[in-house]
């Protein structure tokens, strides 16, 4: 599903954010990416949806070699990969429903299919009743659920989340992780960078720990491993 071989990323300002990353993630896995601040977790994740290109090495997602991918081919990749962020990235002038529908309109999906899919995913994240509300009328957790709904609305094989619970209180964070679990059970690969020790230590899954741009630990059913 996701394969990295010898991936190094050096930013133009000279910072080396990743060094010699080798990793393989299978379809259907649920993976936590942990590590101290500035370790390179976000950079690692950005490699997977080609927000950044590796300086050297190969990144293969769903059979596509991203290091060779032309700019014009990036939209095709993005349609196979859902992304979720700490700050939700919702459009403030659109309702919850419209924010989700936006992802399908942007890839020119048929109106009938848009309606069906958006209704389905809003139901899945438990926001059917709040479909007509604006982001400003929703709590942080609800906003994040809208953004998760948006990330899965076109049925991607993998969802990548960068600290999706970073802005949320502990209870709400649990709600969000439960939704990821639900999505994972349906066969979608989940890669989630997080600082949430409780969650990592409770819902035991594969843990990839990154420090100074290197993978220092990669365990099935691992723990968070850092002091809170």
């Amino acid at each position: 599903m996701i394969n990295m071989k010898g991936v190094t990323k050096k930013y133009p300002n000279g910072v080396t954010a990743l060094q010699g990353i080798d990793v393989s993630i299978q379809q259907g896995e649920f993976v936590y990416v942990v590590g101290p601040s500035g370790a390179g977790k976000s950079t690692f994740i950005k490699m997977m949806y080609r927000e950044e290109k590796p300086t050297s090495g190969r990144v293969i997602v769903n059979g596509t070699d991203l290091s060779k991918l032309k700019d014009s081919q990036v939209p095709k990749l993005r349609r196979q990969v859902g992304v979720v962020f700490q700050d939700f990235k919702l459009l403030p002038s659109l309702t919850a429903y419209e924010n989700v529908a936006f992802a399908l309109e942007a890839i020119e999906e048929k109106p009938a299919i848009i309606k069906k899919r958006v209704t389905e995913v809003l139901q899945l994240v438990g926001l059917k009743d709040k479909a007509k509300m604006l982001p400003s009328e929703l709590s942080g957790g609800e906003q994040q659920r809208v953004s998760i709904a948006r990330s899965i609305v076109n049925k991607p094989k993998v969802v990548i989340a960068d600290e999706p619970t970073g802005n949320l209180d502990p209870d709400t964070a649990w709600d969000i992780v439960n939704i990821f679990e639900k999505i994972n059970v349906q066969g979608t690969t989940i890669v989630m960078a997080t600082h949430n020790r409780d969650i990592v230590n409770t819902i035991r899954r594969r843990v990839i720990a990154i420090e100074d741009g290197r993978i220092v630990r990669d365990e099935q059913r691992g723990d968070y491993g850092y002091e809170a």
């Binding site: 949806y49 014009s72 990036v74 939209p75 095709k76 990749l77 993005r78 349609r79 992304v83 990235k89 459009l91 936006f102 992802a103 309109e105 942007a106 890839i107 020119e108 048929k110 109106p111 948006r150 076109n154």
Partner: protein, 294 residues
């Protein structure tokens, strides 16, 4: 493109227009001023061109008969003229008739000359082909009792200088204004792009193609250009109907005529619409290229 997508781009482009109402207004005004100038310039130029071709296509040679020519000599001259192979017809016009024509064309002021008519008696010679006119005139000039043989192309040379000059001036002016208008449109679109950068970022994340992202901005630019061309087209359409009437009143029966209202007005409107749309799309294309990086 799917119809629903097309409708979306349409909708978005209109929303954008309203969002930066003042910038849109400035850009539209710039296009309006530019196209007004272009419109006037085109009207003048095309009419000068028409005059030039009218003259070039004129088959008339006016043979001024020397003053001390007797009736018999004049008769002989007429025979000679009719004998020339290029000549189709020869008509006599006395200097009194010539003065009448002049008064009719240019106004009563010339009535002064009724006392002391400075004009010549004239043979109006028509050649069979426009291209023969110069040759025939040259031959006629050699004949006895001919003061001068005047034909259109001599006048054309001076006209061409005028034509050339107005063309150059109009061209440079229009070009400068076109660039200014394009720049303003480009700036307006840049503001829209800036206002929508979050939306654009999300579109990229969910896999929208670059063209999907570009379309609303290109359309917005096109609207700016097209809206800007409305007023100039109306101005030329109304203005030219007056100008044409005015000029026609003075050139009745003359071989030089202004361009008639139709289809001229369609052509000029079409050209102005095209220019408006073009600078709109081009201006926004530059903004999209520079600030969207797609």
């Amino acid at each position: 493109m799917k119809p629903s997508t097309f409708r979306r781009h349409f909708r978005e482009s209109f929303k954008n227009l309203g969002r930066n109402a003042w910038m849109s207004f400035a850009a539209v005004s710039a296009v309006t001023v530019t196209l007004l100038l272009v419109g006037v310039f085109l009207t003048v130029l095309l009419n000068l061109n028409k005059v030039a071709t009218d003259i070039e296509n004129d088959v008339e040679v006016r043979v001024l008969i020397a003053l001390e020519t007797t009736d018999a000599e004049q008769q002989a001259l007429e025979e000679q003229l009719k004998g020339l192979p290029e000549v189709d017809s020869v008509t006599y016009s006395s200097k009194e008739q010539e003065l009448q024509n002049l008064i009719k064309d240019l106004g009563e002021d010339f009535g002064l000359f009724k006392q002391n008519n400075p004009l010549y008696d004239v043979y109006v010679v028509k050649t069979k082909q426009p291209e023969d006119t110069a040759k025939a005139a040259k031959k006629i000039q050699q004949l006895d009792h001919v003061e001068q043989a005047v034909y259109g192309e001599q006048k054309v040379d001076r006209l061409f200088n005028l034509l050339e000059m107005s063309r150059n001036i109009g061209f440079v002016l229009s070009l400068l204004l076109l660039f200014a208008a394009m720049f303003l449109i480009s700036n307006t679109i840049r503001m829209t792009i800036f206002a929508r950068r979050k939306e654009i970022e999300i579109m990229r994340l969910v896999g929208a193609t670059n063209w999907f992202i570009r379309w609303p901005f290109l359309l917005e630019g096109m609207w700016l250009g097209l809206i800007g061309s409305i007023l100039p087209i109306a101005a030329v359409a109304v203005g030219y109907s007056y100008v044409e009437d005015f000029i026609k009143g003075h050139t009745q029966g003359h071989f030089i005529q202004p361009l008639s209202y139709f289809p001229f007005i369609w052509q000029v409107s079409g050209i102005m619409l095209l220019i408006g749309a073009f600078i709109g799309i081009w201006g926004s294309f530059m903004a999209v290229r520079r600030f969207l990086k797609v």
